[in-house]
Symmetry: C2
Subunit: 355 residues, 2 copies
């Protein structure tokens, strides 16, 4: 995996960029994994088994892939959040744990909702342990997320609970919109509707991760707002790049079969942009991805049409735009120079993820 | 539906017993349904549709059955909670709404976990709107439960959040145990293990409902403890009677086909007691309900064996015991006479529910 910036988000010319991101991801994981394990260990044994498997802690199967994919990006954001305001790392541990628990709930339940039988190159938790167990494991995790924040002793713990509640509300709203869009004709979906959905589905929790540590430390609202906004924009970019990977990624690396988004009627940004382009190819794509699930031949034709269109480039440009907006928000917040460098490094790392 | 006490829980000789319970259930519903509707109305339209259907607010199908079954027992308990300590009704509205939201989440997800295609005489929400939509609707409700309590302005709002978090943790733990027991041989399950499971699965939220209004009012811990304990005991009794109804109830009234618990491997108390009795019939029941789902012939044989055993009576006696313990806890709390009467009336109403 390379960390060469492709979107120019980094303001660095030094070679430390990748090192900073790696340190953030490593330290974020160090802070969050122990409390995460404690939470899982306290669950009912059957739930703990499901969660350990889901988190890749059970030593089963392709451990390498699991470890590689589970980068704890949100924990790194939580760490950057406290570093941005000079707050202690223990706030990052609490914030990162709460956010990571919500994220893991969303993955457990998303796989059920989307009927995805694979995650990180092996059976999804529901496919392995049954739908019921995976539903309940997700419920257990979201309660623990709330409990983690509730028991935190910090000056801004009340505001932090409000921050988390709002983020989870927005995340669920975004997931509901994502699910609803599956049943809508592609031609009806505008790019702005897509972005609204992605801001909820992915942006809200990224924003929460970037803000929560600072909120716990009772940081000034203007800084918190900038961090939240930057995190949210990054999350939207992350989602768009995920869409691109879903169509053109290496399934060995993504751990998911390519084209499942297509078959399932997911309104990913490259498709939305193609259909909205007004071109004959775009109209043909919209027709092929009508109401019924496409046949393998239709999927192949959509992929051929997408190859000759500029949808992929335009989706990547859109991601770059959201990243640029995130960077601008960070600059407004006037962060310490070294922390600002670390932000740039993490952003670069995320913007070329899994290539 | 009659409200004649069958377990002698009522200390009343007046004819007001049934009237008290009806007033509690009616007033509890009046307090909780408007905020519940507000919460549902704020959800994503597709989630609101699922929740309205699940709550029987959509005017679809057998409305009579839906209305009859959805008695909002927990809202009545929340109302009794505030009356027990002389607190304002608005605390009952908040507490009842939060608890009811958690209860509705558990129903939505339970039906998925148990593969129950019917609830209250019509298709379960997941059977009607899809598993994904029902999973997500449950997630939306649990977040709203936390949000409802978080935004409450009350002297004991911090303690109330702790009370709710603990109850939901225990509920999920009980559900996990319930799910785990499905795959265990009947002969291995003791009555005490069943009770531990039922205290989590059903007792915890009943206890929370009975305590939460008083907690919001910052009532003395001894009174809160008695209310919580009484509610929990009532919940266990309620679950046992639900088990009995699952085997011998009128499916027209319960809204669920009789015998589904049996087929699914649920370790209901009458089965546990039969298998633990040491009788030849009990051993035969345990054999018939081995690891594989029983055939219709095997189900019929189990039902015949149960008829001639005393399992039903013993399960009902166990329920009466939990009710007696609840009553004793209420007496220790020394409640105002009229409130104590209302408790007795509600307990009587619950102990002969759906007959």
């Amino acid at each position: 995996m390379t960390h060469a910036p492709v979107y120019g988000a980094s303001l660095l010319s030094t070679s430390d960029a990748g090192a900073d991101a790696e340190e953030l991801l490593r330290r974020g994981r160090e802070l969050v994994d122990p409390p995460l394990r404690e939470v899982v260990d306290r669950l009912h044994p059957s739930m703990a088994t499901v969660c350990r498997y889901h988190l890749g802690w059970d030593g089963d199967g392709s451990q390498g892939t699991v470890q590689q994919a589970a980068k704890r990006v949100r924990a790194a954001l939580a760490l950057l959040s406290v570093r941005s305001v000079g707050a202690p790392e223990r706030f990052a541990a609490v914030a990162g744990t709460a956010v990571e628990l919500v994220h893991q709930l969303s993955l457990l339940h998303d796989d059920i909702m989307d009927g995805d039988t694979e995650r990180r190159g092996r059976p999804a938790a529901w496919a392995r342990y049954g739908t019921g167990a995976a539903v309940l494991a997700g419920d257990a995790l979201v309660v623990q997320a709330v409990a983690t924040l509730f028991h935190a002793r910090a000056p801004g713990s009340q505001a932090a609970m409000a921050e988390l509640i709002t983020a989870v509300e927005q995340m669920v709203e975004g997931q509901a919109e994502d699910l609803a869009l599956e049943h809508r004709p592609l031609g009806e979906i505008s790019a702005s509707r897509y972005v609204r959905m992605a801001r909820g589905k992915t942006g809200a929790l990224f924003g929460c991760a970037a803000a929560l540590g600072a909120v716990l430390a009772d940081a000034p609202p203007a800084v918190v707002g900038a961090l939240r906004g930057a995190g949210c924009g990054l999350g939207v970019a992350f989602q768009i790049l995920d869409d691109v990977l879903g169509l053109w990624g290496d399934s060995e690396l993504t751990g998911k079969p390519v084209g499942t988004d297509l078959t399932r009627g997911k309104k990913t940004l490259p498709l939305v942009l193609a259909a909205a382009s007004g071109s004959a190819d775009g109209r043909r794509i919209a027709d092929l991805l009508g109401t019924a699930p496409p046949t393998p031949d239709q999927v192949a034709e959509v992929m051929r049409l997408l190859e000759t269109s500029d949808s992929r480039v335009r989706a990547e440009e859109a991601a770059a735009g959201h990243i640029a907006a995130a960077v601008a928000m960070l600059d407004e917040a006037v962060l310490p120079h070294d922390v600002r460098q670390q932000w740039g490094s993490l952003i670069d790392c995320l913007s070329c993820r899994r290539r």
